[in-house]
């Protein structure tokens, strides 16, 4: 099995504090789905920006497909790694088709017109994300969930082996959250994409991701199979919040319990098919 992303002894910090990420090493095997989770300020998005070459490490090395990130030109790196950030409305009123076509920028010639392959990639991505019915609509006229699907379509149209996502489901309702992860999982299973997603949603990560990287605010981190890393102790330690862990068949789920949770130290109600771990 080939590791498509290799991170070795990575250090990074923004001045004046000089350590956000320290001595981080891990690798992602081709075709796996990795979640990056952790409290705010732990450096999840920073790590993602390092992986896509937007930031340069202070020390250590990141290799994509065998070569260090900084050895790629901007264009070549975009052919390897597609990035989906949180959805936004652009200043100018681009249509969905125009937005998705922009994924083909690193492949275009001097005057930037799409050829047959480019058009095919764009159309396939629109089909795969069920956004082709919006193709001619302005991006700003769609709902947040639809827009996020368009951004994922754009990442698929880039035809890159690696997909990086920064909190792809924040601001989305339950149905759209699941919809987005279904889409990503399909891309992983059918197209063999390697996916790295920063997320705050432990439950979705537990359900969809093969591996998880838990970044602690103290600089410690844990990486491994999702089912091994995600436990009550680990989550309570990393996030600093009391957590209820239940299971439903094979799936584990996690509910954070706040100061006003009505469990009086115990779990108040136990539906018959849910067992407290």
């Amino acid at each position: 099995m080939n590791a498509i992303i290799e991170v070795e002894n990575l250090n990074f910090g923004y001045p004046p504090q000089n350590t956000i990420l320290q001595g981080i090493s891990f690798e992602v095997i081709q075709g796996r789905f990795l979640a990056i989770a952790g409290p705010n300020g732990a450096g999840k998005t920073t790590l993602l920006n390092l992986l896509c070459g937007l930031l340069r490490p202070k020390a250590g090395c990141i290799r994509i497909d065998g070569a260090p990130v900084e050895s790629y030109s901007v264009k070549k790196l975009a052919q390897k790694v597609a990035v989906v950030r949180q959805e936004f409305v652009p200043v100018f009123d681009f249509t969905v088709a125009q937005m998705v076509s922009m994924a083909r920028t690193p492949y275009l010639g001097t005057f930037g017109f799409e050829d047959k392959t480019d058009k095919q990639m764009v159309n396939e991505a629109l089909e795969a994300t069920d956004t082709s019915q919006f193709a001619l609509r302005a991006l700003g006229s769609l709902s947040g969930g639809e827009r996020q699907r368009v951004f994922i379509a754009r990442a698929l149209a880039a035809n890159s082996p690696v997909l990086l996502l920064d909190e792809p489901t924040s601001f989305l309702d339950l149905k759209h959250q699941v919809g987005i992860y279904d889409l990503l999982k399909t891309a992983q299973l059918e197209k063999g994409k390697t996916i790295v997603a920063v997320t705050h949603d432990i439950n979705l990560a537990a359900q969809y991701c093969d591996e998880i990287l838990l970044l602690g605010a103290d600089g410690n981190y844990h990486i491994g199979e999702t089912k091994d890393v995600l436990s009550r102790e680990q989550i309570e330690k990393v996030f600093g919040v009391r957590t209820f862990v239940g299971s439903l068949g094979q799936e584990k789920f996690f509910i954070p319990l706040g100061k006003f949770a009505k469990d009086s130290g115990q779990i108040a109600s136990k539906p018959h098919n849910i067992q407290h771990e």
Partner: protein, 347 residues
């Protein structure tokens, strides 16, 4: 299924628009025959080719005066519109215009220095004022770019701020210099700055045309990158665009064509702001289409505005900048009202 802009489709659109532009230019060169400073007769004009110099005054007026003037207006209109398109994309600000980064005050300063110092030499058919305006524009843009890049990471905001500060500072210097100028010098400066299309000889016109067309073609080659750049720096980098290089090349081209336009005709407002907007409202924001169509629309708009400027008041010629502002504002509001309804229906 998505629809794509193909090179062929764009070529057809641009050709149709160029034919329309040629029609507008011919009409504006020929039509106001009985108004303005000199009447010309159409029958004589069409009999003109083949006659000896001096035999047919009407034909010579058309070739030597009207045609260069119409071509000049078309060039300046195209330059300002393209520069506006590029700057709006680079700065991600639909309110940006070609003068936003200090070109206006730089040119103004150049002109007033030329007038006050009383230099008289000519350079490639350009008056001292034109040459000084050109140099002043480019020097100011360079200064703004230098300050903007020098002061920090978030270049866009810093560039805009540097533009505002340099503009304010140079305006103060201009005011100081105008306060020591005599009334004749003052009038020359102000009239020049108001924006005028005046007759130029063919030599100067051809050189400027070459430079402006080269700038526009260079910008056109950047258009698909401008699309991506308009989404923001991080997005553009993620989509494989070298942000710094694209920005500096596009910025240099835009500044160059604007500086030429300013040295040819002074400061003509509104064209660089409303033409890109209007074309974007009708044809959408894809820069590969927006840039060439804006160039042609800008040309046609300024040719018509200049024709109005030299005809509406009979013998007296108005600065064309006044016409572009008076005609452009309402025209733009109509467009906005019409298309914002379409957009809101979409939303």
């Amino acid at each position: 299924m998505a629809e794509f802009l193909t090179a062929k489709e764009l070529a057809i659109k641009v050709s149709i628009c160029l034919v329309l532009l040629a029609v507008v230019m011919s009409l504006c060169a020929l039509f106001p025959r009985s108004v303005g400073t000199q009447k010309i007769s159409w029958t004589k004009v069409f009999a003109g080719p083949g006659q000896k110099p001096g035999e047919n005054i009407d034909y010579e007026i058309l070739i030597g005066v009207r045609l260069p003037r119409v071509i000049l207006a078309a060039l300046v209109g195209a330059a300002l519109a393209c520069s506006g398109v590029a700057l709006q994309a680079i700065l991600r600000n639909p309110l940006a215009d070609p003068y936003i980064l200090g070109i206006s005050s730089g040119a103004g300063l150049g002109v007033i220095i030329a007038v006050l110092s009383g230099v008289t030499w000519n350079f490639w058919g350009g008056s001292p004022m034109a040459v000084f305006a050109f140099a002043g524009s480019l020097a100011t843009v360079w200064l703004v770019w230098y300050i903007g890049c020098f002061t920090g990471k978030s270049q866009i905001t810093n560039l805009l701020l540097a533009g505002v500060v340099v503009n304010a500072f140079f305006s103060a210097v201009i005011m100081f210099l105008t306060s020591v100028a005599n009334s004749q010098q003052l009038r020359t400066t102000i009239y020049w700055l108001m924006g005028n299309i005046t007759e130029k000889d063919w030599g100067a016109l051809l050189i400027s045309a070459g430079c402006i067309l080269a700038g526009i073609i260079a910008l056109f080659a950047l258009c698909h990158r401008l699309n991506v750049l308009a989404l923001g720096q991080e997005e553009a980098k993620g989509l494989g665009v070298n942000v710094a290089r694209t920005r500096i090349v596009a910025f240099a081209c835009a500044a160059f064509v604007t500086a030429i336009a300013v040295s040819l005709s002074g400061l003509i407002g509104f064209v660089g702001l409303i033409i890109p907007h209007g074309v974007r409202l009708v044809f959408g924001p894809d820069h590969r289409q927006l840039l060439p169509l804006s160039a042609i629309t800008g040309s046609a708009f300024l040719v018509i505005a200049d024709t109005l400027a030299r005809t509406v008041f009979g013998q007296e010629q108005l600065p064309v900048g006044i016409i572009t502002a008076i005609a452009g504002g309402p025209f733009f509001l109509i467009l906005l009202a019409k298309y914002s309804r379409k957009v809101s229906w979409l939303k």
